[in-house]
Symmetry: C2
Subunit: 268 residues, 2 copies
Amino acid sequence: MLQECDRPIGVFDSGIGGLTVVQEITRLLPNEQIVYFGDTARVPYGTKSKESVIRFSRDNMNVLLRHNVKMVVVACNTSTSWALNILKREYAIPVIGVIEPGSRRAVAATRRKRIGVIATPSTVNSRKYEETILRMARGAKVFQKACPLFVPLVEEGWQEHRVTEAVAMEYLAAMKKNGVDTLILGCTHYPLLKTVLQKVMGRGVTLVDSAVETAHEVQNLLEKQKLMRQNQHPPKHQFLVSDEPEHFRVVAKRFLGHDLPHVQRVVF
Amino acid sequence: MLQECDRPIGVFDSGIGGLTVVQEITRLLPNEQIVYFGDTARVPYGTKSKESVIRFSRDNMNVLLRHNVKMVVVACNTSTSWALNILKREYAIPVIGVIEPGSRRAVAATRRKRIGVIATPSTVNSRKYEETILRMARGAKVFQKACPLFVPLVEEGWQEHRVTEAVAMEYLAAMKKNGVDTLILGCTHYPLLKTVLQKVMGRGVTLVDSAVETAHEVQNLLEKQKLMRQNQHPPKHQFLVSDEPEHFRVVAKRFLGHDLPHVQRVVF
């Protein structure tokens, strides 16, 4: 029988963006095995309501639990915003999100305590980043901006297109005027826009991608709970989606820079 | 008991775009009563696979049938592309889509038989417009282009924004070079971009919005099957969505130019 610690880590996202988190986990913890689930049939979550996001997040947890995971990373910022606390309460295994790690890193990085957050409309409405940052750094100023066009621009493959730069200039104008020195990329798609975002914000602004910090949090948790994988066979990752696998594969290559192994379709 | 002809007309769409079709039906047939269902929890369909679109379309039919509709209009181009023939086969009531009416109008309007179609990636992949137009006008040339950024641009409210114009210039460059004289707006969101599209394509190009033509097809069908509503009480339309109603209401106002009555949430 499988030892408890040898079970895989579950990661879910509304679609493909969570692969940026998978990449950082496998970089930091190359012996860990991952089961990824992307809810590509119902993507995006960022324009949907709290109730729908909570319902979808529960469904996603249940998909991963059928694969016998030892913990779950909620890689989607919108799911983390609305559902993380609920999932922690309802499920017996450890569940971590991306908002605490990203906020912690931003608080460590900021010099003038002026932190910007760009995210989906639903994440911005939840005010979860603001709440988390203010808990960690009283007196900080948090400036939020919903950027609904960034995800479709990334999915169109226009990461460094002049249109993307024009959109970023418009979305970020108030942030710049408000003098933020640290900008949290509060959606897993946004790290692919780093070049444009850095150009628009200027060299002096630190961009925080929560994927790296989330991977560290996974490491801490596994060490503390003695859940590090001991099996010495190379891990075999699994990728599951709720829509057709082929499109996922194509876009995944843009995210990871390399081909994915077999991608399977899951029916709820 | 309700007379058969006095039952409402069902209209479904992946989200909000189908309201452009509702508007034309109520304009042409003011005595008809409508039940609209927008699948806002799973929107958009245009980037999803055939299998998912068929499954969602069946779910939507079933929602409308619970409201005792006498016929159904599939207002979504992507649903029409993949699911119309299946729904016609599987359900006893009449079902009509938006692709035949739009194609018929384009064939009537074109002078040089060079017709462009802009639509979602999924509709373009289905090649349904091409097939339908060639059936109606042998020897016509059909030029298709997927425009995945148009829906998010409309939903952001940037209908006449310079970014939208830049995106349109890029998407439509090949159409213009190919000398199309008629352009089908193959997604119910696109009529909101008419001003920009006309500007980019030039005055000489006819834009075809299938909503008007679809309303005429509804009228023909009701007359032929003696299903015109006889009841002289003013109709009460119903609006149903699968996600939270409030956001739908806000965007609906942009589509209709006026407030919607009560919007109800449906759980599948």
